[in-house]
C-alpha cells in the first residue's frame, strides 16, 4: 500500500490540454508549502504505518510530468492493482466525460466492493472525448433527493398528458404489449404514432459533444433509421465542431452500417428501465415502445451490452476479480 502512493507522484496535477505550463508555476510555489506541511503532520500520526505523505513533493509537479494528464498509479503487488482497475466490459455503458481530456471510468458504485475512481492511464492527448456521461447510471448522482425526482417525474408526466390527448389509449397499448407475446403484427406502429411526443429522441455519438434528435415516427423499420443516422453523423459532420482531430479521422474512416457490427461504431439505445441495448434485437414496434434515447457507441465499448433477454442478474453478479 505504501508504495502505491509513491507512484502517484507522476501526474496528479490533472492539468488538461494546454494548461500545463500555468499549473507548473503555481505548483512549484505551493510545493514547498506542501512539503513543510507534510513533514510536520507526518509526525503526528499515532499509529503504526510510516507515513509517506512527504510524497507531496512529487504530487505538485502535475503539469510537467506525465504528459499533463492523470496517470494511473502503477499498481504494486498489493490487491490495489485489482481494484484500481477500471471496469469496462461487464459494466455498461462505460462513462466518458464530455469535453474533458481525461476519460475516467468507474463502476456503478453499488456494484460490489470495488468502486474506486482511478483515472484512465492514458495521457491527456490521446484521451477520448466521449459523449456526455450516462449520469443516470450512477447511484445518487446528481445528488437530488428522491421526492424531488418524483416531482420531476410527475411534471414530465403532466406535460406529456397535456400534449397527448390519446394518453389513456396509449396506456392500454402499453399494457397490451406487456401481456401479449410479440405477434409480429404491425398493429403497434399505428397506435404508437398517436403518441406525439415519442417522435423525437436524442441521439448522441461518442466523440461528439453535441447530440442530435431523430424523429422515430418517420421510420417504420431499423434500416431507414440507421440510414438516417449514418447520414446525420457520418456525412454531415462538417456542421458539428469536433474537439479533437482524431475524432474527425475516426468518423471519416467509418462508413459501414451501424447495424451489422462491422463498423467502428454500433447503435445502441436506452430503454425505459435504464438499460442499454443493441439496436436491432427486438421487433421494431417493441423497440419504439421502450426506447428513450439512442447512442452511437464505439464498438470497443459495446462489448458486454446485453441483448434484450440476457439475465440481468448475470450482469450484476459479475465482479471485478
Amino acid at each position: 500500500m505504501d508504495s502505491g502512493l509513491s507512484s502517484l507522484g507522476g501526474g496528479s496535477g490533472g492539468a488538461c490540454g494546454g494548461g500545463s505550463s500555468t499549473n507548473e508555476s503555481v505548483t512549484t510555489v505551493s510545493k514547498v508549502e506542501v512539503v513543510e506541511q507534510m513533514s510536520t503532520e507526518a509526525s503526528s500520526y499515532p499509529g503504526e504505518a510510516e507515513l509517506e505523505l512527504g510524497l507531496g513533493l512529487s504530487l505538485g509537479t502535475g503539469g510537467g510530468g506525465g504528459g499533463g494528464g492523470l496517470v494511473k498509479p502503477k499498481q504494486p503487488s498489493s490487491a490495489w492493482g485489482e481494484y484500481g482497475r477500471i471496469l469496462t466490459a461487464k459494466d455498461f455503458p462505460s462513462v466518458l466525460s464530455n469535453a474533458s481530456s481525461t476519460a475516467p471510468r468507474f463502476s456503478n458504485s453499488s456494484a460490489g466492493p470495488v468502486s474506486g475512481t482511478k483515472r484512465a492511464a492514458d495521457s491527456a492527448v490521446s484521451q477520448e472525448v466521449g459523449s456526455a456521461t450516462a449520469a443516470s447510471q450512477v447511484v445518487g448522482w446528481p445528488p437530488i433527493r428522491a421526492y424531488r425526482m418524483n416531482s420531476l417525474v410527475n411534471q414530465a408526466k403532466a406535460l406529456a398528458a397535456e400534449d397527448d390527448k390519446a394518453d389513456s389509449e396509449n396506456d392500454k397499448f402499453k399494457d397490451t404489449l406487456k401481456k401479449k407475446p410479440y405477434t409480429g403484427s404491425n398493429k403497434n406502429n399505428s397506435t404508437v404514432k398517436e403518441k406525439g411526443h415519442l417522435g423525437f429522441v436524442k441521439v448522441n455519438m461518442d466523440g461528439l459533444p453535441i447530440g442530435r434528435k431523430v424523429d422515430l415516427d418517420a421510420h417504420a423499420c431499423y434500416e431507414t433509421l440507421a440510414q438516417t443516422l449514418e447520414d446525420m453523423f457520418f456525412r454531415h459532420n462538417t456542421t458539428m465542431p469536433p474537439i479533437r482531430s482524431d475524432v474527425e479521422k475516426g468518423q471519416s474512416t467509418n462508413l459501414s452500417k451501424l447495424l451489422d457490427g462491422s463498423s467502428e461504431f454500433v447503435l445502441t439505445y436506452e430503454d425505459k428501465e435504464g438499460d442499454w441495448m443493441l439496436v436491432g434485437d427486438v421487433p421494431w414496434g417493441m423497440f419504439l415502445s421502450t426506447v428513450k434515447r439512442l447512442r452511437i457507441m464505439r464498438t470497443s465499448e459495446a462489448n458486454g451490452l446485453a441483448p434484450r433477454f440476457q439475465e440481468r442478474s448475470e450482469r450484476q453478479r459479475s465482479k471485478p476479480i
Binding site: C16, S78, A135, P143
Partner: protein, 581 residues
C-alpha cells in the same frame, strides 16, 4: 466556592441563554453551575442519535421540554445509505415517555419513526405541541390519526419530505371539533386524497393557523375557500392544478390571494397553469420566500413573477429560470439571501435550458446579501468562480453541482481547483461547501489552508490521492461533518488524522479506498469512535484485509457501539484483531 445569591437567581439568568454552546460553556464554570444549568436546560439538540444514548441524555438533563434528533447520514438522501441502516426513534421516545411526561416538542430528521412511536407521543405527553418529522419514514397515516385524536395542544405538525404510508386521508378528521390550536401544518408529502371538508373545517376553526402546506393533490377550485377561512396565513404551500381555466375560478383565486395580506412565504405551485400566475401578483411584494422548485413555470413567466418580489429573501427555483431570469432576479431582488437552482432534467445528456454559470455570476454581483447558494448547472469556469468569490465574500453556504462528473473549466479545460480555491479564500466565513467538476488534490490544499470556518464539506468524484484528504483533515479546524463518495482516498490520510475524527460529528466515505484493515485499526485504537463498516456484499472478513470497504461511517460517541445494527453493518471495536489474510 461560595457565592451569595441563591440558585433561583442563577436559574433566572440562565433562562435567557438559549444557545447550546453558551449553555455548555456555563456548565463548565464549576460544579454547582453545571448542576444548576442541567436542571434548567429545556432544549436539547442531538446531531447524531448514536453519539449518545437516551439514558445518558436523560441523566444529564432531567427536565427537557424540547428535543431535536438526527439519524441517518446526509448521503441517505441520495440512496447511498442502505435501507435498514438504523436511526430508530422509538427507543428515544420510549425513554422520554418515562422521563419527560411534560415533553412538548420533538423534531426528528432522517429517522425511522414507527406508528408505535407516534402512539407513544400521542398518549404519553400531555402537553405535546410540536412534531416535526423531516425526511423521516416508517409511519403511516394511522399513526397520524392517533396524534390527531389525542394531542389536544398540538401547534405544529410538519411532515416535510417524509415517506408516509398513506393508508387513508381520513386521519385529518380525527382532530376533534374542540381542537383549535393548530398553527402550522405541513403535509406536502402525503399523496392520498384528504377529505377537503375536514381540512376546511380544521382551517376554519384554528384562528392561529399561520403555516399551511398541502400536498399537490389539492384541487385549485377548493383553494379560494381555504384561503378565505385563513386570511392570516403567513406561509402557504399548495399545488394549483386544474383541468381547465375558468374565469370564475380565476377571479375567486385572485380575490382570495389578495385577502391574505400577511402572506410571506409561498411554495408548491405544482402543475400551475401559467395563466393563473397573475393571481399571485398582488402578494408578490410581500413575499420573502418563494419556493418554485416543484413548479413547471418557464422563463418568461418566472421573470414576470420574480421581478415583482422586491422583498424576496429566499428563492428556490428550477433551472427554467435560465440566465436571463437570474439577471432579472439580480436586478429586482436586492434583499436576496438564499438562492437554490435545481435541475429540471438532471439525467438529460444535453442542456435543456439556457442556464449557465453566468446566471450565478449575475446574482452574485447584484445581490449584496446573498450568503447561501445551491446551484445545479452544466458548466463552470475558474474565472466565474473567482468572480463569484470576489463579489460575495459573505457567502456562508456554497454548494455547486455540475451535473456531469469530472467536468473541467469549460474555457480552459483545466480543473476547477483554482476557482473553488478562490471561494474558500475570499469567503472567510464559509461554513458549508460542496464541490463538483474536475478537481485534483490542489483544491484540497486550498481548502485546508483557507477553510478555517468550514463545518461541512461534501465531496464526490474528486481528488487524486490521500494527500487531498489529509489537507482537509489537518487544515479545516472547524470541520464537523465530512462526507465523501467516489474519491481515491485511502488509509494513510485517515490513520494519520485519527485524532481529528474525535473532534468531528461524523465522517462518511463510500466507494473510496479505505481498507478493511485500516478500519479495524481505527476501531481498535479509537474507542470513542464508532467505526461502522457497511458491506452489503458480505462480511468484510470474507475478503482480504487490504480490500477496500464499500462504505464507512465513522462518528464519535459516548455510548459505544450501537446495538441495533442490521446484518450488513459491523462496528470495528477494540476486539477487532488485525488478521493477516
Amino acid at each position: 466556592m461560595g457565592y451569595s445569591f441563591p440558585e433561583e437567581v442563577l436559574e433566572h439568568v440562565l433562562s435567557f441563554i438559549d444557545s447550546d454552546s453558551d449553555r455548555n460553556s456555563v456548565s463548565l464554570v464549576c460544579k454547582s453551575w453545571h448542576d444548576i444549568e442541567r436542571w434548567c436546560r429545556r432544549r436539547l439538540f442531538v446531531g447524531n442519535c448514536y453519539a449518545v444514548s437516551p439514558a445518558i441524555a436523560i441523566r444529564r438533563f432531567p427536565e427537557l421540554r424540547s428535543v431535536s434528533l438526527k439519524g441517518k447520514p446526509h448521503f441517505a438522501d441520495f440512496n447511498l445509505v442502505p435501507h435498514e441502516w438504523g436511526g430508530y426513534a422509538y427507543p428515544w421516545i420510549a425513554a422520554f415517555a418515562k422521563a419527560y411526561p411534560w415533553l412538548e416538542e420533538l423534531r426528528l430528521k432522517r429517522m425511522v419513526v414507527s406508528d408505535e412511536a407516534l402512539e407513544l407521543i400521542a398518549k404519553k405527553f400531555k402537553n405535546f405541541r410540536v412534531l416535526v418529522m423531516y425526511s423521516c419514514e416508517g409511519f403511516s397515516t394511522d399513526g397520524l390519526a392517533t396524534i390527531a385524536a389525542n394531542c389536544r395542544n398540538l401547534k405544529e405538525l410538519d411532515l416535510s419530505e417524509s415517506e408516509v404510508d398513506d393508508v387513508s386521508g381520513n386521519w385529518l378528521s380525527q382532530f376533534p371539533d374542540s381542537y383549535t390550536s393548530l398553527e402550522s401544518l405541513n403535509i406536502t408529502s402525503l399523496s392520498s386524497e384528504i377529505r377537503f371538508s375536514a381540512l376546511e373545517r380544521l382551517v376554519g376553526r384554528c384562528p392561529n393557523l399561520k403555516t399551511l402546506k398541502l400536498s399537490h393533490s389539492v384541487p385549485l377550485d377548493l383553494l379560494p375557500n381555504l384561503l378565505q377561512k385563513a386570511p392570516q396565513l403567513v406561509e402557504l404551500g399548495s399545488g394549483l392544478h386544474t383541468k381547465e381555466v375558468h374565469p370564475d375560478l380565476y377571479s375567486k383565486l385572485a380575490g382570495a390571494f389578495s385577502g391574505c395580506k400577511g402572506l410571506k412565504r409561498l411554495c408548491g405551485l405544482q402543475d400551475v397553469v401559467p395563466s393563473y400566475l397573475p393571481t399571485l401578483y398582488p402578494i408578490c411584494v410581500g413575499l420573502t420566500s418563494l419556493n418554485l422548485s416543484d413548479a413547471p413555470i418557464q422563463c418568461p413567466e418566472l421573470i414576470k413573477l420574480v421581478s415583482q418580489c422586491q422583498n424576496l429573501q429566499r428563492l428556490w427555483v428550477l433551472d427554467y429560470i435560465e440566465d436571463t431570469g437570474l439577471n432579472a432576479l439580480a436586478e429586482s431582488c436586492k434583499d436576496l439571501r438564499e438562492l437554490r437552482v435545481f435541475p429540471s432534467d438532471p439525467f438529460g445528456q444535453e442542456p435543456n435550458v439556457s442556464l449557465t454559470e453566468q446566471g450565478l455570476v449575475s446574482v452574485s454581483a447584484g445581490c449584496p446579501k446573498l450568503h447561501s447558494v445551491l446551484y445545479f448547472c452544466r458548466r463552470m469556469s475558474n474565472v466565474a468562480l473567482s468572480t463569484i468569490a470576489r463579489n460575495r465574500p459573505n457567502l456562508t453556504h456554497f454548494r455547486l453541482c455540475i451535473i456531469e462528473r469530472f467536468r473541467p473549466d469549460y474555457i480552459t479545460l483545466e480543473p476547477l481547483d483554482v476557482g473553488f480555491g478562490a471561494i474558500v479564500e475570499h469567503c472567510k466565513d464559509l461554513k458549508r461547501l460542496s464541490l463538483s467538476g474536475l478537481l485534483t488534490d490542489r483544491v484540497f490544499e486550498y481548502i485546508g489552508s483557507h477553510g478555517k470556518k468550514l463545518e461541512m464539506l461534501s465531496l464526490a468524484f474528486a481528488g487524486d490521492s490521500d494527500l487531498g484528504l489529509h489537507h482537509v483533515l489537518s487544515g479545516c479546524k472547524s470541520l464537523r461533518k465530512l462526507e465523501i463518495r467516489d474519491c481515491p482516498f485511502g488509509d494513510k490520510a485517515l490513520l494519520a488524522n485519527a485524532a481529528k475524527l474525535e473532534t468531528m460529528r461524523s465522517l462518511w466515505m463510500s466507494a473510496c479506498q479505505v481498507s478493511y484493515r485500516a478500519c479495524k485499526l481505527l476501531g481498535q485504537k479509537m474507542p470513542r469512535l464508532n467505526v461502522e463498516v457497511i458491506a452489503e456484499q458480505g462480511h468484510p472478513d470474507s475478503s482480504p484485509d487490504e480490500y477496500p470497504v464499500e462504505k464507512l461511517y465513522i462518528y464519535r460517541t459516548v455510548s459505544g457501539p450501537r446495538s441495533d445494527m442490521p446484518s450488513f453493518v459491523w462496528t470495528m471495536d477494540k476486539n477487532s484483531a488485525l488478521s493477516s489474510s
